[in-house]
Amino acid sequence: MNSLLSGDFPRSRLLAAILLAILFGLAFAPFLFPGAQPLNVAAKICVFVVLVASYDLLLGYTGIVSFAHTMFYGIGGYGVSIALYSFGPEWGPMALGIIAALAVSVVLALMIGLLSLRVRAIFFAMITLAVASAFAVLASQLSWLTGGEDGRSYRVPEVLRPGFRLLEEPLFGVAITGKILSYYLVFSVALVLFLLALRIVNSPFGRVLQAIRENDFRAEALGYRVVVYRSIATCLSAGMATLAGVLMALWLRYTGPDTTLSFAIMIDILLMVVIGGMGTLYGAVIGAALFTLAQNYLQVLMAQVSEATAGIPLLPQLFHPDRWLLWLGVLFVLSVYFFPTGIVGRLRR
């Protein structure tokens, strides 16, 4: 276990219990919560754990504020989309799409890193915002390649299609279809990537990143080339975000600007990092799980509260499902107020 978690234990019983509950819930989601929507929510949590962890590698561990993260996420999605759409639903084209997407992401990350990491943090953030916006416009304009604003649906390899049946008989009452296999592909890759990220931040390289985050001059005075380390961190983070995009593309079998490049996704990532706790990868798990559940079930919960309080003045209107974003905002403000270091930071104290 020590080796698996790279010696980075949750260091709080409550946190360990919550993490185990999330792991258990995600590992057995198809059997515990049957149905299309719960499985979709579980898959989205898996993908966002990777995406948020990769962003935390930048923001929480290296102190780099970037708004280009959805661009790398989008490159992963479009890489798979273009490859599968153009060359057919086989594993070979898919692998090609993933490799091409990773290459494009790493080259772009390196270019942004080398060009911008020498400037002050706020300018770097602005440059990443500009590059991400330019990429979103490009993806929209190159409609012959990307499907433009409508995006593109495509077929995935046969074993990942909903029509595929692995077993003739249901297992624990659940038919083992390509959709379930697809979910377990997303879950296992997300788990491996998360453990890999844990390994990175707890390695000597990760320690240097944390030192740079605290004081880059001191790190330089110890002999570390800050630009090189920051560039490597940017590339690693971009690579992970790209793979998260690949997972989402395989799960949705659709890639479009709204599901990959939207600035709203960037805001969601930021909120998840802050809610979970910056500089703790376990924060990515808590933040992604909590935020995705709230996004998907807060409306349902509010509809029930609204119905239950039908006779009381004002309350039904206050808890009307249409006001779910207002309550999500209130929950965010409360979580930042009570857990300024994030939920994981608070639980670890």
Partner: protein, 241 residues
């Protein structure tokens, strides 16, 4: 005088539009502890930062072990064998004591014999080995910052005001540690405001005023000449501790 390890010749440094160093000439002999004294704002810390390449010298020459390092990048200067302890306890607060020390070990692992020697100098570090450095007391943080600089043998230590803000008992510990480092043959350039500590430690001394070296000689000469002290250092140096 022993062989000169570090030599500054006519070094000027600008920070933005401010001209801070106005032609600093300084010699640091190998195996000696050279004190760099002066009033607040005289340019002592800027001199150390310029040597480390954290501020670039706009004019003049800095040579270390015979090699010109004036335009070298900070990591290259560190790799060449200069360790720097910044003022205000320059540690990494989020990392543990162990991680702080490992960061300074260029091969990623600490020599056990060297670590025992460091623990002998600063026993508190062994006690708080696995704690985050941010929770240490001021004196312990300063010990950690110095330990980080000496965890591997270096050619030269640049130390900026190690006793600043510390309690007298901790200052005495620090003085003992520097005496041991001297006895081990380390070459040290030490910026200090505490003249009592400076007298106890320094072999040579250079005094700065307004971005220039205005006096260079032995510490023994300066310690014996109260008039010279008053003229060069004024009342700003702390002589009461």
């Amino acid at each position: 005088m022993s062989e000169v390890l570090l030599r500054l010749e006519g070094v000027h440094t600008h920070i933005g539009r401010y001209h801070i160093l106005h032609g600093v000439d300084l010699l640091v002999p190998r195996g000696e502890l050279t004190m760099l004294l002066g009033r607040n704002g005289a340019g002592k810390s800027t001199t150390l930062r310029t040597i480390m390449g954290l501020w670039k010298a706009s004019e003049g020459r800095i040579s270390f072990g015979g090699q010109d390092i004036t335009a070298a990048a900070t990591p290259d200067i560190a790799q060449a064998g200069i360790a720097y302890v910044p003022e205000n306890m320059g540690i990494f607060a989020d990392l543990t004591v162990r991680e702080n020390l490992i960061l300074a070990a260029r091969r990623g692992e600490i020599d056990p014999a060297r670590l025992r020697w460091v623990f002998g100098l600063f026993p508190a570090l062994e006690t708080f080995w696995s704690l985050a450095a941010g929770v240490l007391s001021g004196g312990q943080k300063q010990m950690l910052a110095i330990a980080r600089a000496i965890i591997e043998p270096r050619e030269l230590l640049l130390v900026d005001e190690p006793t600043k803000g510390l309690a007298p008992a901790i200052i005495m510990n620090m003085i003992s540690a520097f005496r041991e480092l001297k006895a081990a043959g380390e070459t040290i350039l030490l910026v200090e405001q505490n003249f009592t500590a400076a007298k106890m430690l320094g072999d040579g001394v250079a005094i700065m005023d307004d971005g220039r070296i205005v006096h260079a000689g032995t510490m023994a000469e300066l310690a014996e000449d109260a008039g010279l002290q008053q003229r060069l250092l004024g009342p700003s140096m702390d002589t009461h501790q």
